[in-house]
């Protein structure tokens, strides 16, 4: 019973307006990469999926979007929670997923294992939602690209050491590539594939 109540509870109380508000924060953050957006509404998904990650799932996933979950998330009540509230099915293979979720501290797979889109249809790529310890306080990286006036420093804390290599490789295959939503508690930081990251000198 405990597991079942976890599955049915924790969605938006007011789905129409809360999904709109979360989407607007995501849209603004994708339009201005590196800015940290606070979600006015957050979901309460079963552990170990974070509140902001859960809100992203409720806002963007449905029966059209196969979802890939990290091993720890797949073993939890999260697949049933996502299926019950959004109707999204689980993707067996990473490259079939429209959305991928990784919990805090979970192993982040190489971005090239996910759907990258094609040269003709680069939009058919996975959006990765990775929860980190914090969106500030980590290794400072200088971000440049569309949506950024000159440059902005991002310093998410808790990303794997190979993240910058993953991201540089992802940037190199533009217009193909994954897009990234980093979450921590009720906040998000979005990195579209156009953003170039470099270690601050």
């Amino acid at each position: 019973m405990a597991v079942q109540s976890q599955i049915y509870a924790g969605a938006f109380a007011d789905p129409v307006f809360e999904a709109q508000s979360v989407f607007r924060t995501l849209m603004d953050c994708f339009a201005r990469p590196g800015t940290i957006g606070r979600l006015a509404s957050a979901a309460s998904p079963p552990s170990p999926l974070g509140r902001a990650s859960g809100a992203v799932a409720l806002t963007l996933c449905d029966h059209d979007t196969p979802v890939w979950l990290s091993p720890a998330l797949s073993k939890s009540a999260v697949p049933q929670w996502i299926a019950f509230h959004t109707g999204a099915g689980m993707a067996e293979a990473k490259d079939e997923a429209r959305f991928g979720f990784v919990e805090t501290g979970g192993t982040v797979p190489g971005f090239d294992q996910f759907a990258l889109g094609t040269q003709e249809y680069p939009d058919r790529s996975t959006t990765l939602v990775i929860e980190v310890e914090a969106l500030k306080g980590g290794q400072p990286l200088v971000a440049r690209g569309p949506g950024i006036k000159n440059e902005i420093v991002v310093a998410p804390k808790g990303l794997p050491d190979v993240f910058l290599d993953f991201w540089t490789a992802n940037r190199a295959i533009f217009p193909r590539g994954v897009d990234l939503i980093l979450t921590a508690r009720d906040a998000v930081l979005c990195l579209p594939r156009t953003t170039r990251l470099a270690i601050e000198e």
Partner: protein
């Protein structure tokens, strides 16, 4: 029951909004690239801005302030009906003032007042594919975008020069976004092209009949295609606006009588009204203002 109860907020159902929202996020991530989306039937005919309406409906929230313009004007049929539509189905606040709006849906103009951060400009787009009149097959134009093969577009502009001595394209003037995708800025006059470059506002484009959404994020390079010896130029007007005296704005020609009388006035009605409210007067208004001042004295 009020009228609102008959519809979901902003008319579209939630699944449609999610689908459009996903397309918008991918469009922002790939500036200038046309994302296909499952455009819906709207309660207005194609060609009346169904693409823009669907984009606006998907991003709109209860706190937004909406402005709708048609060729720069707030009071023309298309603008009035779309504004009334959103008042009815979303009960949203509307304005005609560019400064106050958070979302501006536009048909073929960019407001004269520079847009600021936090504003979103939604364009209604009839033909999103800039290469369509050069290559009718979608499979081919997709491949051309994939291979960044835009030679044909330069040939078209060159033929303009060969025939007319200058680039005669005056609206829907092709631009290159972030040095990658060639994009149709929708049939805005090329006068507005420079405003797209490094704009502070987010620009979203919706084509309902053609089922495409594309975007230009803020602070993004938007360069009009040209040649070294024939650089891109915007239209110039001989006279300032007849009503507000504004220079360096886009003017509409208005026929005044059947004896050849005409005036040129701002196409951006809000900009013109705002200037007049601040005491600027053009050639046609200057004299009546003097008279009224004398009368007051």
């Amino acid at each position: 029951m009020n009228d609102l109860a008959a519809y979901n907020f902003a008319y579209l159902d939630e699944q449609t909004k999610r689908m459009i929202r996903r397309a918008i996020l991918k469009a922002i991530a790939i500036p200038g690239y046309q994302v296909p989306f499952a455009s819906r039937e709207m309660p207005m005919p194609y060609g009346w801005g169904t693409g823009g309406v669907q984009v606006t409906a998907s991003i709109l929230g209860p706190d937004d302030v909406l402005k709708v313009i048609d060729q720069g004007a707030d009071d023309t049929t298309n603008a009035v009906s779309i504004r009334a539509f959103f008042q009815k189905v979303a009960n949203v606040a509307v304005t005609t003032k560019t400064k106050e709006a958070t979302i501006i849906q536009t048909r073929h103009r960019i407001p004269e007042e520079p847009l600021r951060e936090g504003q979103t400009l939604v364009y209604q787009v009839p033909i999103p594919e800039p290469l369509r009149f050069l290559e009718p097959r979608e499979t081919e134009t997709r491949k051309m975008h994939a291979l960044e093969e835009y030679g044909l577009m330069h040939v078209k502009l060159y033929e303009d020069i060969a025939r007319n001595g200058h680039i005669a394209t005056t609206y829907a003037y092709p631009v290159k976004v972030e040095d990658r995708y060639v994009m149709d800025p929708s049939p805005t006059p090329k006068f507005d092209n420079p405003k797209m470059h490094m704009s502070e506002a987010l620009q979203l484009f919706g084509a309902g009949r053609e089922k495409r959404i594309y975007a230009v994020p803020p602070y993004t390079q938007v360069v009009s295609l040209d040649f070294e010896d024939h650089p891109f130029e915007v239209q110039k007007f001989d006279k300032p606006c007849a009503l507000c005296g504004a220079e360096n704005v886009y003017l509409d020609e208005v026929v005044l009588d059947d004896k050849g009388g005409r005036m040129f006035v701002c196409s951006d009605t809000d900009h013109c009204e705002d200037r007049r409210a601040h005491g600027h007067a053009g050639a046609l208004l200057a004299r009546p203002t003097q008279e009224s001042q004398e009368a007051a004295e």
